[in-house]
Symmetry: C2
Subunit: 407 residues, 2 copies
Amino acid sequence: MTVPGPIDPPARLLMGPGPISAYPSVLRAMSAPLVGQYDPFMTAMMNETQQLYRGVWATANEATLLVDGTSRSGIEAALVSLLRPGDRVLVPVFGRFGHLLAEIAERAMAEVHTIETDWGQVFPVSVIEEAIVRVKPAVLALVHGDTSTTMAQPLDEIGALCARHGVLFYSDATASLGGNAFETDAWGLDAATAGLQKCLGGPSGSSPITLSERAVEVIRSRGRVEAGIREDGDPQASDFIRSNYFDLGMILDYWGPRRLNHHTEATSMLYAARECARLMLIEGRAQAIARHRLAGAAMLAGVQALGLGVFGDIAHKMNNVVAVEIPERVNGDAVRAMLLDDFGIEIGTSFGPLHGRVWRIGTMGYNARPDAVYTTLAALEAALRRFGVPVPSGGGVQAASDVYRAG
Amino acid sequence: MTVPGPIDPPARLLMGPGPISAYPSVLRAMSAPLVGQYDPFMTAMMNETQQLYRGVWATANEATLLVDGTSRSGIEAALVSLLRPGDRVLVPVFGRFGHLLAEIAERAMAEVHTIETDWGQVFPVSVIEEAIVRVKPAVLALVHGDTSTTMAQPLDEIGALCARHGVLFYSDATASLGGNAFETDAWGLDAATAGLQKCLGGPSGSSPITLSERAVEVIRSRGRVEAGIREDGDPQASDFIRSNYFDLGMILDYWGPRRLNHHTEATSMLYAARECARLMLIEGRAQAIARHRLAGAAMLAGVQALGLGVFGDIAHKMNNVVAVEIPERVNGDAVRAMLLDDFGIEIGTSFGPLHGRVWRIGTMGYNARPDAVYTTLAALEAALRRFGVPVPSGGGVQAASDVYRAG
């Protein structure tokens, strides 16, 4: 074959539901030279990254670390480590990613119970409690923000509920962390996982995870050190975790003082993850979330001022993504193609029941910025006009700008 | 907490068993901007990366792709996808990573059969055949190069053997690919996996994998499209793969023409993986392997000329790593610390039975270069002298240089 040249991506403003354009300094961090996996600098960076993510997660959890893979690697690590085969798990499903949690739990041979609500809605706490009482699960697995519907499930009362019923509380915060309130300790979470490619403003490929002491106890009770590095006295539980890669006990031993070799940490992704957290904490956690709230409000006002409908229960919409109804007689994919080809702007398509019905427009991480919001709205207005949709001239940008000016 | 500054690693020449210093252009590739996961540029890069890795693996396998995780993510994906619970697998163990294959297979609930040989040796084909006849496994899982012992198991006759006995042949080529001959098709492999952080000269975090048609058939027979994106007519095998993340059928559907959403591809790691393959093919596969052979021979001659013993059956040593016996009365870790602290050079320690007995010195990827070999030998000579070991002055560099001059 003719060997191609170096990578040279086209200019893109990524305004979909993620991945989004990474912060420039996150991209730069990944080009830093590698060091050995037990270099004092490397272990110091691992420790520092843990500490940074305690800030991101708003937790004192010692067990705060990264899983080396995309966001669903963190989900699978949490579920396969917390759920013994045959354990009951309750998964309230309010979008595609609830189905994913159920799927992963089923493959982990848990007994999966789901409750469902209509797309565009979230669950009242009472409905979740009722299901907990009925199912008596070992684990409640609940998506926080589901980009498929743009909804954010309120979690603030769920932890106390789970504690009352002796249920471990896991949440998938992939789409929400960093752009929406998320209080690991205050909300009583036992486990939560995320990815870098949404509000944290990095590339996919590293999954931050945090575990309460109660979760660590469950994981430790299934402890098994792998053959080849096992020593006398190492635990050898018979109900060991049915994955080596996702055995959080071994991953904890690698990140912990014992530094027991498991995988070789993905150094460049660690650098990226560290930089994502660093940027968020320099900005301030509350400030970063407020910036997402403002960008989301501006984008929402903008698309509404263009005369477009918005899907779902807006009171429960995530800050960082909006589902915009595609006007009748408009080919949604053709509009998206025009935005990409003519403007270099990507907005998202949709899954399942919303496929062909809505575009999903994100404002997250680096791109939760006024210029990104205005540019996207101006381009969308131009594209809609090109496709014959009557739109008020300048209305989208004007409305978004009003939101920003009102602050 | 005080938020720390940007990442700023110390200067390091990584001459251990991996990870090693990445090629500068691989580091640069990771700082390229992100694009959306279904951007035509992204899918073109995925296709191009597959084609590049067909060159790296010396295969025509359509199913040649990346698993998003460290090298053991590729191993687990292969084993959990190929092995049904209860299937017999034969694992010949000649070092730590054979134990790892057995461990991963056991966690996948396979019936694991191992044979072992002494560390520092490889298996005669006849011994493997005998075990195949006795065990009648569904899969033979065999490490190619095991860095724990530095041995490379000859694989060239194993594929035909497996074909005769109706056994699927998987090999873990993490440590060997790119620096030693590896002929996926000519050697009759059904599955092989690797990582970037050894001879391919990239960071840990992406696992190249290639699968024969026979392997794909097995995987397809267990096909299951996950809940949430499943459509009418999609397969729903009852003996589905017991992992979502490592379900190679779904990963193939994501990389294939259907582009069915699974994970969000780790874009920056894809850029890195693409660049690793690109560099190898620009150099030429045979030339890259020859460069590793020469660097390995030079390092071997150099340490021997310093009066140091070498562990294992040198005739079967991998090109890219040598196990050097620590002289008596020398504290191996103190020498390593001096190399790291005074020279910025990392060499490796060892696992299991070799712990404290040998250093492992690598010459791979970017660092399979004369200057890296000479610098390491000069520093090692200085360190040994500092620790009171009598060493012939300049002998190590001289001997290595003689090897390079003889070409």
